[in-house]
């Protein structure tokens, strides 16, 4: 038996990040939250970025946010994305906290996108992973 080489770059989880991907596999978006001060941290951190507490736990978020900014990529320089250019990468700010930002991939160009548009999460199977992605509600 062999495992196929992934055709597109996939996450390499570690002990800290595994719960994010486990939740995504169940169709849930979770973000790390400090239990001492309530600050959300993404990407996850061992220590709260704000109050330095070690008491960090994964909590579910609403999956809703706004389009903070985006980029349209033209370079063929990332494994598995060479044939997809031009494509768009979105940065979505979750409702839970200012500048709580997650990346998303959008096939094709950025027609009709405007900063501030509402976004909501959906889940996208890639190889053995489920990636949280965001659709823009235009």
């Amino acid at each position: 038996m062999t495992s196929e080489t992934p055709r597109r770059v996939v996450p390499q989880p570690d002990a800290l990040t595994q719960p994010f991907w486990d939740a995504a596999a169940e169709g849930k978006l979770v973000v790390q939250r400090c239990q001492a001060c309530g600050f959300w941290s993404h990407p996850p951190r061992i220590m709260c970025n704000k109050c330095h507490s070690l008491d960090m736990k994964w909590e579910p978020v609403s999956g809703k946010g706004r389009l903070y900014t985006w980029s349209v990529m033209h370079m063929q320089s990332i494994t598995g994305f060479e044939d997809r250019v031009p494509y768009t990468t979105l940065l979505v700010e979750l409702d839970e906290q200012p500048k709580l930002l997650l990346l998303s991939y959008l096939a094709g160009r950025d027609e009709g996108l405007e900063i501030g548009q509402r976004c909501e999460v959906y889940f996208d199977k890639v190889e053995d992973f489920t990636l949280p992605q965001f659709r823009v509600l235009k």
């Binding site: 993404h42 990407p43 970025n49 990332i78 990468t89």
Partner: protein, 395 residues
């Protein structure tokens, strides 16, 4: 409070290798060319050099790690440099930005750790792998970016730039003024990669997109080459052949960063203001005291962020500030008078330091600002990290 070290050290020699896309000799040999040129320029012998400082890391994906081929570590120059038989001090820096290494040199000289510091920055273009992400898995923070097709610094910068343009209701077309101005300066700079290639506004606007809204001419031109300089104390500098370029102050980016996503999208003012503030405070100066500014332009918007963060114009005003010749050689703030990384070549901030030295010592051939007394050189984006110095004609 003005820094006790103000004016106590100076740059006394400069040297450069040729800047090309494909060098005809290994990077280590180019670095020795630049180092020996800087030492000779200072009127010193290689055996006078007893202190070394460098920032060797190559700032792109796909970089190798062979000393003398992919990068030039302190050990390489110690081994091959025929310098003082016993090097008294060295620093090899991989955080902050390029000026972080000569900052160490300044402090070493003031403390008496050595007599002369040689500082170099070598840049390499590897064949085939430059800026490509060829892995199949991404770990660390990259696992939240690469699977979405987001990996490179230019992608992060393009997102930040779109955010900036939207926030201040600006258009990317206005950047033509800054980029063509830097190209004009490069056309006067014999060392510049684009010395012989003018750029019109149409050329700028028609350039192919890299990651929108950044196009080809919004990105610095990668080159192979090395620039080096020699520093010493002000006392020793008095006896040497060149006018010294005194170091009035320095600063580093030490901002706290509460959020972090692969590469930061953050408030450039929050990071850049205290960074520039430290440079000014040590020098006992403000933006109005700066005659010529060399502000980092790895990507063209970084210069806008520095114009604002270093107080040369108000928040959101930089794109207007660079219009109508205001930052040209005859403008109110001559900017990137050597062409910047954009048009001289990607020396990653070293070109900015070298030009600041030249301007305050009347050595900026073809583009000298008459009577320039002070020049600031700041490297870094300032979204992420940085360092910088102010050089002066008088101590």
């Amino acid at each position: 409070m003005v820094w006790a070290g103000k004016g106590k050290t100076a740059v006394v020699g400069l040297g450069m290798s040729k800047l090309t896309r494909r060098a005809d000799k290994p990077l280590g040999a180019l670095a020795l060319d630049a180092c020996y040129a800087a030492i000779a320029d200072a009127g010193l012998k290689p055996s006078d050099i007893d202190g070394l400082a460098t920032y060797p890391d190559q700032p792109f994906r796909g970089a190798g790690n062979r000393d003398g081929e992919d990068l030039v570590n302190a050990l390489y120059i110690m081994t091959h440099g025929e310098l003082a038989p016993d090097i008294k001090w060295y620093a090899q820096i991989s955080t902050g930005m390029i000026a972080s290494a000569p900052i160490e040199g300044v402090n070493a000289l003031i403390s008496g750790a050595c007599n002369y510091v040689l500082f170099w920055r070598a840049m390499h273009i590897p064949r085939g792998t430059y800026n490509s992400f060829r892995g199949y898995q991404a770990g660390g923070d990259g696992q939240f970016g690469a699977p979405y097709g987001h990996v490179h610094g230019y992608q992060t910068h393009s997102m930040a730039y779109r955010h900036y343009l939207n926030k201040y209701n600006q258009k990317r077309e206005k950047m033509a003024a800054l980029v063509t101005n830097s190209r004009k300066n490069a056309n006067l700079n014999p060392n510049a990669f684009f010395h012989d290639q003018p750029m019109s506004v149409e050329d700028y606007l028609n350039a192919r997109m890299i990651a929108e809204p950044l196009a080809l001419f919004d990105c610095d031109v990668p080159i192979e080459g090395c620039t080096a300089l020699v520093m010493t104390t002000a006392d020793r500098a008095k006896d040497l052949k060149n006018k010294p370029a005194y170091i009035a102050g320095y600063g580093q980016n030490t901002a706290h960063r509460p959020e972090y996503l692969t590469y930061m999208i953050d408030d450039y003012l929050e990071a850049g203001r205290p960074h520039a503030g430290k440079i000014y405070e040590r020098a006992g100066m403000g933006p109005k005291d700066i005659d010529v500014a060399q502000l980092y332009d790895g990507f063209s918007p970084s210069t806008l962020y520095w114009l604002e963060a270093a107080g040369f114009c108000g928040e959101g005003e930089a794109l207007d500030f660079v219009q109508d010749g205001n930052v040209s050689l005859t403008g109110s703030l001559p900017l990137n008078t050597f062409g910047g990384s954009l048009s001289e070549g990607r020396l990653h901030g070293m070109g900015h330091l070298a030009e600041a030295v030249r301007q305050v010592t009347d050595r900026a051939e073809g583009r000298q600002i008459a009577g320039a007394n002070t020049s600031i050189a700041i490297d870094g984006s300032p979204l992420l990290r940085g360092s910088g110095m102010i050089f002066t004609r008088e101590p």
